[in-house]
């Protein structure tokens, strides 16, 4: 692996031409949406908005046409996604289905699964969550204990997932569970299932976060009977499938735009005459953002070319997280505007919200230490 993997890449003209369209749509549909809501970024939930996007063909657009997608390339999806995120649009309902579950089912699912699950995803009506972490598993996914065992009707699911984003709103979970004995090779014996969350035996309990919101959930499985065709992909190959899926998860604009709304309220609050410190910091952050976007586009070009840039994607993710987490830190240094939970300006409220949410950004898709370990491995150090 080498840094020469990062080659400057631009968005093709046909993809770039979508930008105008999506901006106009957002102007129409989110004109009055307040900054405090936009600040939720891809945590904001609005099923009606997701259906509108679906109607425009902007959900699952990379999926094949026969399932309702547009067979669009990665850059077209990139333009849509970055415009939605930059506007702080409430995309959380369909977010995981669009980003992870749809592509997973398309890649590893059976024809019947594709026909059943992909069209409603593309309509913006079908919402997924991802069941990975378990109590005490943390970053060490090989230690999960939730299991599915074969029985007369298919599979019997037992166990518990935790930190499952949006489980309380989703119809389905893609769950990584144990289907065999724990092997010598720590990552064998796991499989992925599509779990209908309306089935008996499933209990979903939201976890209240430090800012009072409820995005994470605990999900309990007590003798949940799954059909045989709930298995997605190959039995025992769940870990490999998840690893392939994580590659999608590490380098998109969602990895560095989570605090864009705060950057915007900050710039407006500073006004047109920044002092030397304000100018330096706003300019420094903007230079970083431009560079991060170029890195992310470079990884997108590699994905488009059928490569698997795990190393490069981890670079974007780690730098992107640092960038996102730095913004509230910088913001509180540039203006004497104390963060406010109640009262105060819109900027003060956005600052309070994102100051509290920022620590969670590095929980998504691999901690800092693990990402850096991946990079070190790519450099041949381990």
């Amino acid at each position: 692996m080498s840094i020469t993997q990062f080659t400057y890449s631009t968005i093709p003209v046909e993809a770039e031409s979508l930008r105008h369209e999506v901006r106009a749509f957002l102007q129409d549909h989110l004109g009055e949406y307040p900054a405090t809501s936009r600040a939720q970024s891809w945590m904001g939930f609005d099923a009606a908005f997701s259906r509108q996007l679906g109607a425009r063909g902007w959900v699952g657009m990379a999926l094949p046409r026969q399932y309702g997608g547009a067979a669009a390339g990665p850059f077209a999806r990139y333009v849509i996604i970055e415009e939605l995120l930059a506007a702080g649009a409430p995309v959380s309902a369909h977010w995981i289905a669009d980003r992870q579950s749809g592509p997973l089912i398309n890649r590893f699912g059976t024809e019947a699964q594709r026909e059943r699950y992909l069209p409603p995803i593309c309509r913006g009506e079908s919402y997924f969550c991802i069941g990975m972490s378990e109590p005490n598993s943390g970053s060490d996914l090989a230690s999960i204990k939730t299991s599915a065992s074969r029985n007369y009707g298919g599979w019997l699911l037992n166990g518990q997932k935790v930190w499952t984003t949006n489980a309380q709103h989703a119809q389905f979970m893609i769950a990584l569970v144990r289907t065999g004995e724990k092997q010598a090779a720590r990552h064998e014996g796991m499989s992925q299932f599509i779990v209908d969350l309306s089935l008996p035996g499933i209990t979903i309990r939201p976890i209240r976060d430090l800012a009072g919101g409820e995005h994470f959930n605990e999900v309990f499985f007590d003798n949940v009977q799954l059909d045989a065709d709930a298995l997605v992909g190959t039995e025992g190959k769940g870990w490999d499938q998840v690893t392939a899926e994580l590659a999608f998860e590490r380098s998109g604009p969602e990895r560095f735009l989570s605090c864009i709304e705060l950057l915007k309220t900050l710039i407006s609050a500073i006004g047109r005459h920044p002092d030397a410190l304000q100018g330096r910091e706003i300019g420094r952050l903007s230079a970083k953002l431009l560079t991060l976007r170029n890195m992310s586009l470079s990884v997108t070009a590699q994905l488009a070319a059928g490569e698997h840039p795990a190393w490069a994607a981890s670079c974007v993710k780690d730098l992107g997280n640092l960038f996102e987490q730095e913004i509230p830190e910088v913001a509180q240094l540039l203006l004497e505007a104390e963060p406010r939970q109640q009262g105060g300006t819109e900027h003060a409220q956005v600052l309070a919200y994102l100051t509290q949410m920022a620590p969670s950004f590095s929980l998504r898709g691999g901690t800092r230490e693990i990402l850096r370990g991946i990079i070190a491995r790519g450099m041949g150090l381990r």
Binding site: S133, N136, G138, S139, D140, S143, V162, W163, I207, R208, D209, L210, G212, F216, A269, L277, Q325, E329, Q332, L333, L334, L335, E336, A337, E338, P339, R340, Q341, Q342, G343, G344, T345, H347, A348, A352, T355, Q356, P359, S360, S362, L363, T367, R368, E369, R372
Partner: protein
């Protein structure tokens, strides 16, 4: 003295400022039992002169109280009451019992014993019975005034990022309870300095508790077959946290010690800078080491981290105080730099300008 103060407040806060109490008070509930116990301890009056109903304790000894308030995230304006009574004492006004707070941000004019104008960012303003502030700040005769909150024409409620009340109160022709000229030895920014002093100690205390919580968690939580505290990357982060907590602790203590009688503005400014930077670093490392569990409302980490994020900004951010030190240093030039640093107790910052959003 310090040892007795510290053990007394710790006992009291251990019993009555539990994490459950702290959480339940966020958003504006009032811990009546806790406050009653604090009033009974006499600490609210500690800094006032004996002749005016106080105990004439210097700030050097009061440091441990402010630090303990931070360690327990105590949801009461004890520090504020101590500072308020100290200033009343300086102005020759009798110390106040009851819930006393203060306003460093005030735009208040006094005429014929009545005030017009607003107070901003008042800690527990909605609960306070009385408030200390300075009226006519920009005149030749700034005046210490004591106000009854019930005389306010209106209130604008606010909460800081930790859910602590930081309210605005608006007065229109309200009679003051007492007033007296601000002594010439004190600057009109005395409450801003005092606020920064209090918050620096609270940050030091909260960091101490957070460091203990985090290193304890790292020792207990296992991943990949061993405690996460056994991984070198985690150890290095915790060492940085410990260094920052130590720096915050000594910077805050220095500010109290050197302000025993008069506020040492350079040392207080340095304390606010050092503690604010340590607050940022410490909160980030604590959350990073804890992972998802630290992000939940049920785990008490955020009771500390959210206060660190609030307090680092209150009474001047690290930038504001850095800039004021920087201006003073540049006034003295490179040649005078070392003498300035080693003679710092006598150095005072010049008057501030405050940016606002």
């Amino acid at each position: 003295m310090r040892e007795i103060f510290e053990s007394t407040i710790e006992r009291l806060l251990t019993d009555l400022a539990t994490p459950e109490t702290v959480l339940s008070c966020e958003g504006g509930d009032w811990p009546a039992e806790l406050w009653a116990a604090i009033e009974e301890s006499g600490f609210t009056l500690a800094a006032a002169p004996e002749s005016l109903g106080g105990a004439e304790i210097g700030w050097a000894d009061l440091y441990v109280l402010a630090r303990a308030l931070g360690r327990f995230a105590a949801p009461v304006p004890l520090g504020e009451a101590m500072l308020g009574n100290w200033l009343l004492g300086k102005a020759g006004i009798e110390a106040q019992t009851g819930i006393l707070s203060f306003a460093a941000e005030a735009n208040l004019s006094l005429r014929d014993g009545a005030v017009d104008g607003s107070l901003h960012d008042v800690p527990w303003g909605r609960h306070a019975a009385t408030l200390v502030t300075i009226a006519d700040r920009n005149s030749a005769t700034p005046t210490v005034v004591l106000l009854a909150t019930e005389t306010a024409a209106s209130q604008t409620l606010s909460l800081n990022v930790a859910g602590e009340p930081r309210d605005s109160l608006h007065f229109s022709g309200a009679k003051v309870l007492a007033c007296a000229p601000l002594p010439g030895s004190l600057s009109v920014e005395v409450l801003q300095l005092g606020g920064a002093l209090l918050r620096s100690a609270q940050i030091a205390g909260a960091l101490h508790a957070l460091l203990d919580m985090t290193s304890g968690y790292a020792s207990e939580r296992t991943q990949f077959g061993r405690p996460i505290g056994a991984f070198q990357a985690i150890q290095q982060q915790l060492a940085v946290f410990a260094e920052q907590a130590a720096a915050a602790s000594i910077a805050a203590e220095a500010a109290f010690a050197e302000s025993d009688t008069d506020f040492a503005s350079f040392t207080i400014a340095a304390a606010k800078v050092s503690t604010a930077e340590a607050a940022s670093a410490g909160a980030a490392i604590a959350h990073s080491v804890h992972g998802a569990i630290g992000f939940t409302q049920e785990y008490p980490l955020h009771l500390l981290s959210r206060r660190l994020w609030a307090w680092r900004s209150e009474y001047g951010s690290a930038s504001l105080w850095s800039q004021r030190i920087g201006q003073m240093v540049c006034d003295g030039g490179g040649e005078g730099y070392w003498a300035l640093l080693t003679g710092h107790a006598c150095q005072q910052l010049s008057a501030p300008e405050r940016k606002s959003a």
